[in-house]
């Protein structure tokens, strides 16, 4: 699924090695993953996600995952994901209260305008994505397990191919598991209309002459899963991610403004005139990024069998972004195998060093002269997000399970473009075959 318009840094589902970590935890708990399946049966988890923003993107994402555990306790997991995306995406320009702004579409073939007070949105895209993941986990000895996986994802302007491998070691009477894993991902970005030359004016439609750009990502993960007591388990992960290559979003611009903050015309900088407020600079991001993330999850079962789950993540990177994420769920066990689960998530991030809401002529001249980085993508600015939701479901007599959730996601930041409201709906069904 692609909820925002195109590229810069890669996407990872956090699924492959996440599944392996879950498998490691299962080994630690002395059982096979997918608690109730029998050996050599397939367990199928399926879901359809619906995501809809007010006036912007709508996505529908069906996904199915088949997992089979063999007699030697090894496990194979295969996953298919499809995305369908429609709607409009913020193009990076400011929300001006006073002036009309004019832009070219990504292909450069059409021109569109944004009226004063409106968030500049590019509505010319529609996309689908297909992704497949495979992961195999097996025992090396009574206390050591290994895992390896492949993943491939494709959409019309982006292709990703990745591989991962990891080791899990059970110790302390299988009350502890240490995980060490590596992953490599190679991405190819093929922007519609060619690769724009960064820091040029959008109205000039300057292209680099190359049809695609590349990016590679190396991930390292060190995990510690610990049984604290009969009712409490925790997981602590450290994740280092280093990427190099093309991180720029080829569809994002930065608005040139006058001293009063109003959009400038391209004639101010000698660029091609396509209309009012058309001085929009193509953004540029660094060609590398190093991220450090620490993730801590706790799950605790109360005396009445209700489960409290809490997680916290701290992330910091060399772009200057620091973020905190807190996630809290309470699974309320009801009669007849029903459950009800309220969910709250809170997220806060600081802005990247090169983020600007807009730039002046003097700043643009300096940035162009020094080839400095600049982006107005609100996702790299100060941001605070809140998600509130409710999930419910039931296990049926056959052992199959279904669930549904409804959540509300709200973003806010320093700019009007960052104010996003979204509805998240999902239905899921698990069965054995």
């Amino acid at each position: 699924m692609q909820l925002k318009k195109k590229p810069a840094s890669a996407r990872r589902d956090a699924i492959s090695v996440g599944s392996a970590l879950a498998a490691a935890t299962c080994a630690l708990l002395g059982q096979t993953a997918g608690a109730s399946e029998s050996v050599e049966d397939w367990t199928f988890d399926s879901a359809v996600l619906y995501y809809s923003e007010s006036d912007r993107v709508t996505a529908v994402e069906p996904v199915v995952r088949g997992t089979r555990t063999f007699e030697d306790d090894s496990e194979l997991s295969l996953k298919l994901t499809f995305d369908s995306l429609t709607g409009a995406s913020h193009n990076g320009a400011i929300v001006s209260d006073t002036g009309v702004q004019t832009f070219t579409s990504p292909s450069g073939s059409t021109i569109y305008r944004t009226n004063p007070g409106d968030v500049p949105l590019d509505d010319t895209f529609k996309d689908t994505r297909s992704a497949v993941n495979g992961q195999y986990t097996w025992n090396l000895s009574r206390t050591w397990r290994a895992t390896t996986g492949l993943n491939y994802s494709t959409e019309y302007d982006f292709t990703s191919l990745g591989a991962n491998a990891g080791l899990m070691w059970d110790l302390n009477e299988r009350n502890s598991t240490l995980t060490l894993a590596f992953a490599h991902e190679s991405d190819t970005i093929d922007p519609v209309g060619g690769v724009p030359t960064a820091l040029t004016w959008q109205s000039d439609r300057v292209r680099t002459g190359t049809s695609s750009e590349d990016r590679s990502i190396n991930d390292f993960l060190l995990g510690w899963t610990q049984v604290m007591n009969r009712r409490w388990i925790m997981q602590l992960n450290y994740n280092l991610s280093a990427s190099s290559g093309y991180h720029t979003d080829p569809y994002k611009v930065v608005t040139l403004v006058d001293a009063a903050g109003n959009p400038e015309d391209s004639s101010t900088v000698g660029a091609t005139d396509i209309g009012d407020g058309d001085a929009q600079l193509m953004e540029q991001r660094p060609d590398s990024r190093t991220k450090h993330a620490v993730y801590w999850e706790n799950r605790y079962t109360r005396q009445n069998d209700d489960v409290v789950a809490m997680s916290y993540r701290f992330m910091t990177d060399d772009w200057g972004i620091n973020s905190h994420t807190v996630d809290l769920r309470y699974r309320w066990k009801m009669q007849n195998d029903w459950f009800l689960q309220p969910h709250v998530r809170w997220y806060s991030q600081s802005a990247a060093d090169f983020w600007r809401e807009s730039i002046t002529v003097a700043e643009a001249n300096l940035i162009q002269a020094t080839q400095d980085d600049v982006s107005a993508d609100y996702r790299l600015g100060d941001l605070t997000d809140v998600t509130v939701g409710l999930k419910f479901g039931r296990e049926l007599a056959s052992g199959s399970k279904w669930n549904a959730r409804l959540e509300f996601f709200q973003q806010s930041g320093d700019t009007d473009a960052a104010d996003v409201d979204a509805l998240i709906g999902q239905v899921g069904y698990t069965f054995y075959w």
């Binding site: 840094s9 890669a10 599944s19 879901a47 191919l161 388990i233 993540r313």
Partner: protein, 70 residues
């Protein structure tokens, strides 16, 4: 910062009670007590949403085939 991390890890290790025996793991073996498994496909779907809308990612796991959405 490093001191705080060390103190946190020591406190965490200190919180662990006597090792839980295999026959005492009825509660821990439930699917809703397994990190990464308890929420089924939700974790991956959520990671995808938030990766697309925020400047952060990672921590819970990695690898899975991307999109160019950030």
């Amino acid at each position: 910062m490093r001191t705080a991390v060390v103190v946190f890890l020591v406190l965490l290790a200190g919180c662990q009670q006597a090792p839980v025996k295999p026959w005492e793991r009825d509660i821990l073996a439930r699917e809703d007590m397994i990190p990464g498994e308890a929420e089924g496909l939700d974790d991956a779907l959520d990671d995808h949403i938030y990766f697309s809308k925020e400047g952060s990612s990672g921590g819970r796991g990695f690898g899975g085939g991307g999109c160019g959405c950030n």
